[in-house]
């Protein structure tokens, strides 16, 4: 009856290096510098600067970063439903994490974790397909396949 309703935001962070967005450039080898904690910290900072202490009070307790993949820069964030606009707005206005500029692109918003998982898996597939198309090299297939399987397992195992 009085359930806590949430919104699950699926966000992709596109890095922008030297004024050019790095779409499709694989960070597979070196791994990106982001991680879940850094995202949470900068999101908190963004909410505080744009919406003040009241904004953080509305959103802060329920804001969690549930999943992050350094390869495809996908992040799943859970927020309470009533104030998810505030968190989403702060996410859009976010531009720098740890000194590197990013473009946050919210791919999917859903009320249950199930659809967020499905959307994350299909987005991963698209991104890997883009990497493969760019690489034009069949050697990479093995690495990507195992990566896809692992990430699917990780995503499926997400708990509420």
């Amino acid at each position: 009856m009085v359930r806590f309703k949430n919104r699950w935001l699926l966000v992709e962070f596109i890095p922008v290096l030297q004024g050019h967005a790095q779409l499709g450039k694989s960070t597979f080898g070196n791994g990106s510098l982001l991680d879940g904690k850094a995202i949470w910290a900068s999101l908190k900072q963004s909410v505080l600067t744009n919406f003040g202490d009241t904004g953080w009070g509305a959103v802060g307790l329920s804001l969690t970063v549930k999943y992050f993949s350094p390869t495809t820069n996908i992040c799943i964030i859970r927020v309470a439903r009533d104030q998810h606009n505030v968190a989403w707005g702060a996410l859009t206005l976010l531009s720098i994490i740890d000194g590197v500029r990013y473009i946050p692109n919210v791919v999917h918003v859903s009320g249950t974790i199930k659809h967020a998982q499905l959307s994350a898996i299909s987005h991963n597939r698209e991104v890997i397909a883009r990497y493969r198309a760019l690489a034009k090299n069949s050697d990479y297939d093995d690495i990507y396949d195992t990566y896809l399987d692992n990430s699917e397992r990780e995503i499926e195992s997400l708990q509420d």
């Binding site: 922008v16 004024g19 967005a21 779409l23 606009n85 859009t92 531009s95 946050p104 692109n105």
Partner: protein, 342 residues
């Protein structure tokens, strides 16, 4: 289908003819684009498509007035150089920044129609109260020179004029649209021409001004007739359309009005802008259809019209002895249904 109708293109022109004699006709110097500029633009378009935009408006900004002798449409040559992408539409747009010097006239006159036909959309950026009334009242009337987009300078510390409800309403009724550039919300860089003209600012204070002015604009227009577009110079400031829709709904606009501002309103704006090429916003070319018993070649001769038009008179007035066969057939047809009914 999402629209980004303001992707600023900046191109400095070198003039071969540096003489000050304004009356000499300038040679049309086609804009030359270096490969690095083209590749920059291509990567930006790739990013826009990745974020979900499918209609992209490339825009050129002019300060104060449009001089037909020196103005070069840089976008024509650019469109030819871009890769063709299926399913993506490119539009050309001209932004004219109006300030107090432009109150007397800034080149949007009938003589220059040929110049403006090279652009799909025309936008005005008024900075004084007089230019705002000019933009809302005179230039939103349906003519070949209608400026369909009115773009207010939202990052200035104080909006230079009070937004009067009646002015705005007239403009909306005439079909004009007010534009919100979301780059101000991020405090990102604005078009250098705008910054030079003191129409836009960048940075932290710009953000505060943007929120205040945009909220006021949304209040006065009551959410109708608004479009949202980029105005983004640095690639890092681009955002996907649903993100922007969320930001706009934080301004007090309802969610469906915000979604309309991203989809329905720009779509009808583009179709309306095409009517610049027609006469006074009549959308289709009227085609005269002649009834079958009239002369197929050219206009009917005066004799025929009098015969045909006076069908009733022919029945009443029996003095007409020579009737063309078509009218008697028509008369017979008229009588038949009466007999059948009876």
């Amino acid at each position: 289908m999402f629209f980004d109708l303001n992707v600023p293109i900046k191109k400095t022109q070198q003039r071969a003819n540096a003489s000050k004699k304004g009356k000499q006709p300038q040679q049309e110097i086609p804009a030359s684009w270096t490969p690095s500029e083209i590749s920059d633009l291509e990567s930006r378009i790739d990013l826009l498509i990745h974020l979900g935009y499918s209609v992209i408006g490339l825009s050129q900004t002019v300060h104060k007035k449009v001089d037909p002798k020196t103005h070069v449409n840089v976008l024509d040559s650019l469109l030819g150089r871009l890769q063709t992408r299926p399913g993506i539409v490119f539009l050309k747009r001209l932004n004219i920044v109006l300030d107090s010097e432009s109150e007397k006239g800034f080149g949007l006159i009938n003589a220059n129609v040929a110049l403006f036909n090279g652009y799909d959309l025309i936008a005005l950026v008024p900075t004084t109260h007089n230019t705002l009334s000019l933009a809302c009242l005179t230039h939103s009337m349906p003519t070949p020179l209608t400026a369909h987009i009115i773009s207010l300078p939202l990052t200035l510390p104080r909006l230079p004029y009070h937004l009067k409800h009646t002015l705005i309403r007239t403009a909306l009724k005439n079909g004009a649209v007010f534009e919100i550039n979301y780059v101000g919300a991020l405090g990102g860089e604005n078009d250098p021409v705008l910054v030079d003209a003191n129409v836009a600012e960048s940075g932290a204070s710009a953000k505060r001004n943007w929120w205040a002015s945009t909220r006021e604009l949304v209040r006065v227009t009551k959410g109708k007739g608004l479009i949202v577009s980029g105005g983004v110079i640095a690639e890092a400031d681009l955002r996907s359309p649903r993100d922007i829709g969320n930001i706009i709904s934080l301004l007090g606009l309802s969610q469906d009005a915000a979604h309309d501002a991203l989809t329905k309103t720009p779509k009808s704006l583009i179709i309306r802008a095409e009517t610049r090429k027609t006469y006074r916003a009549v959308l289709s070319e009227p085609k005269v259809v002649f009834p079958p018993h009239m002369e197929p070649m050219g206009l009917p001769t005066p004799q025929d019209t009098t015969e045909v038009n006076t069908l009733k008179r022919a029945r009443e007035d029996n003095s007409l002895t020579v009737l063309p066969p078509s009218t008697s057939a028509a008369k017979k047809k008229k009588r038949k249904p009466n007999k059948e009914v009876a």
